[in-house]
């Protein structure tokens, strides 16, 4: 699938930013997605694709966009890449993207993705990422703390931790319905993400090695994990609970 889509066709308007970069490698960015989804007989390769990160320009340094399709199997994400205007110097210039593949979330390995016609693609407005932006803003606020912020033994947040936490949050908020976590900083410089409702409690720590650990209790059923790469999602049951819950 290699369709060229002009953002104006998607009622997106003009991006008020100066430069766009896709997080990570273009060929394997964020989010679960199926490559070669037109060949259902083959096992689906899951990669990591996500939205895009708008690098700091004159505006908000952290804004995320993505294209979404809503299908029967849940939210589905189209992988997009900047087109010819990859480096946009004029903030008023419309940006053209190419859809290089269709990504599927909430799709299990081996399950046949449902190709969607392009007409069903809709632009997810900036506002739908408010939770992500809020979490990133909080993260940056915490990253400004210097050594000793919580006493003599406390340390600031390493840049590697900040990057890993951003990666996790971008991945987490691929679906805008996800419950927003409390974002905190530990005295050892790790980032804490914490969710608590009547149904669940989840504590997660992200370290400078780009790995995270977590403990979750969802309706009395516990799960945990150690040394998980920040670009890997929480277990499905935990994610599902976090997507179905309101605080």
């Amino acid at each position: 699938m290699q369709n060229s889509v002009n953002m104006s066709d998607l009622e997106m308007g003009v991006l008020p930013f100066q430069k766009l970069n896709i997080l990570g490698d273009k060929s394997s960015s964020v989010g679960d997605y199926a490559i070669g989804n037109a060949i259902p007989e083959r096992p689906i390769r899951f990669g990591r694709v996500s939205g895009m990160r708008l690098e700091p320009g004159s505006g908000n340094p952290h804004t995320f966009y993505r294209l979404m399709m809503v299908g029967q199997s849940g939210d589905q994400i189209a992988v997009i890449e900047p087109g010819i205007n990859e480096a946009v110097s004029d903030a008023s210039m419309p940006i053209t993207f190419s859809i290089v593949d269709t990504a599927f979330t909430n799709t299990r390995v081996g399950q046949r993705p449902i190709p969607q016609p392009m007409s069903k693609i809709a632009w997810v407005p900036h506002k739908s990422n408010e939770k992500l932006e809020s979490a990133i803003a909080r993260l940056n606020d915490l990253a400004a703390k210097s050594n000793g912020w919580k006493g003599p033994d406390s340390v600031s947040m390493p840049k590697e931790t900040l990057r890993a936490a951003e990666t996790f949050l971008i991945r987490y908020f691929v679906s805008p319905t996800m419950l927003a976590p409390f974002v905190g900083l530990d005295s050892d410089g790790d980032v804490t993400l914490f969710w608590k409702t009547d149904q669940l409690i989840v504590d997660l720590s992200i370290s400078s090695d780009g790995l995270y650990s977590f403990y979750a209790n969802v309706k009395g059923v516990t799960s945990r994990g150690d040394d998980i790469p920040a670009d890997k999602e929480l277990p499905f049951k935990v994610r599902f609970a976090l997507s179905q819950t309101t605080r």
């Binding site: 606020d141 915490l142 400004a144 703390k145 210097s146 000793g148 912020w149 919580k150 006493g151 003599p152 033994d153 409390f182 905190g184 900083l185 530990d186 005295s187 050892d188 790790d190 804490t192 914490f194 608590k196 409690i201 989840v202 504590d203 997660l204 720590s205 370290s207 650990s213 977590f214 403990y215 209790n217 516990t222 945990r224 994990g225 150690d226 040394d227 605080r247």
Partner: protein
């Protein structure tokens, strides 16, 4: 018996019925929506094992002026850190018995609370109320620590201003119990 000798003798388990107070002075440790204590308020380094515990104060021995003094000292240590979101000192409360009742799925105990009074120094007053919540489980994987913090978070009450924990001026009876505890 000197004051310090008396203090050192008191490293004993705290009774289940006692209430414990945890000092909070950085609003980043509060959940904005609910004003509950967040898990980041519990230092992971304090939950790794028996060598070092999570500091609390035993309410029945706590003296308001001492807590305020300690809070001011801690806040002074970070006063040059512009990103610290200081809040007025708050105290969250938990019952010792509830903390000590925390168990893993296999039924093994996680925490013990011991009295660890602190002697006066040149800059801080003695704190006979000081106690520590210790991880006695022998487990310290990162996800274990996540579990410990999650459990503690549910046991501590919403932090409130210090005054609300000391509704009346420190009375003679509080002073007497303080002295008794030291020289027990």
């Amino acid at each position: 018996m000197s004051m310090s000798e008396g203090i050192e003798r008191l490293q004993t388990p705290v009774e289940d019925g006692e209430m414990l107070l945890r000092l909070v002075w950085d609003s980043h440790d509060l959940i904005a929506d609910t004003l509950e204590l967040a898990t980041s308020a519990f230092s992971k380094n304090d939950l790794m094992g028996m060598d070092r515990g999570l500091s609390v104060d035993r309410q029945k021995l706590a003296v308001k002026s001492v807590i305020i003094s300690l809070a001011e000292k801690q806040m002074a240590q970070v006063e040059n850190n512009p990103a610290v979101n200081r809040t007025r000192p708050l105290l969250a409360k938990a019952r010792t018995g509830d903390i000590c009742a925390s168990v893993f799925e296999d039924g093994s105990k996680i925490f013990s609370v011991i009295a660890t009074p602190i002697a006066a120094t040149a800059t801080t007053p003695a704190n006979p109320a000081h106690a520590e919540i210790l991880n006695i489980s022998g487990k310290s994987k990162k996800s274990d620590i996540n579990e410990f913090r999650a459990k503690l978070q549910t046991l501590f009450s919403m932090p409130k201003p210090i005054d609300e924990h000391f509704p009346e001026p420190n009375t003679l009876s509080r002073f007497v119990s303080w002295v008794k505890a030291i020289y027990k």
